[in-house]
């Protein structure tokens, strides 16, 4: 991993169209500004990792297709039911 030291107000260029700026530093909290082309998706790493974890969990279970077919779902239709019931 490349490690660079930067001060508040300074930035880093990745390639020629992604700029990472250090906006502010407050103790342990650092505000980072990102300028990137719109097709580059930017997420907090935790969010992306959560999706990966969920996908792996979803893929890991061995499910009997017959079992799934028999599942009755409680649909979230409460608003409509309430409206009609009044």
């Amino acid at each position: 991993m490349l490690v660079l030291s930067r001060k508040k107000g300074q930035s880093i260029m990745i390639g020629n169209d992604i700029e990472i700026s250090i906006i502010d530093i407050q103790g342990e909290q650092i505000r980072i500004g990102i300028n990137a082309p719109r097709h580059v998706t930017v997420y907090r790493k935790e969010v992306f990792e959560e999706i990966i974890k969920e996908n792996k969990e979803a893929a890991s279970v061995s499910v009997n297709p017959e079992l799934i077919k028999g599942i009755n779902i409680k649909r979230n239709a409460n608003q409509k039911i309430n409206e009609n019931g009044n």
């Binding site: 996908n55 979803a58 279970v61 297709p65 599942i71 779902i73 409680k74």
Partner: protein, 148 residues
Amino acid sequence: MQLNTKHFGVIDVDEKETLYFPSGIPGFENVKKYVLLGKQEAESPFFWLQSIDKPDLAFVVTDPFYIKEDYYVDVDDEEIEEIQITDPENVLTLAIVTIPENIQHMTVNLKAPVLINMKNNMGKQVIMKDDTFPVKYYIMTGGSEPPR
């Protein structure tokens, strides 16, 4: 073509039904080709997203609009550029289902739906930026976590 599946043995699938995920699915980035199985089971809201090259890899998926009536998908146009979506009418929206041992705790990932452009059979799992819908939406109780 003959397809080796996780749950249905060897089945025959029309090659034209191949769904191509240019970026794979997060966690399975190298697996790019899938087929959707179970569509003919009209009475069940669940389908299988089966990998073509990895027989052991299959996701249970469902229609999120069936699970939650007020569901919607909100992503930037740029995010779906990769699968060339131009007309929302031609998009099939699926959500990945996680089924733990206790089936009462099964969840569906509403934050990161799988979008399939039915015009060109390209797919992508997108992650919504806001937190309107959770990664773990408990199907059996209509949202909240059931008591353990």
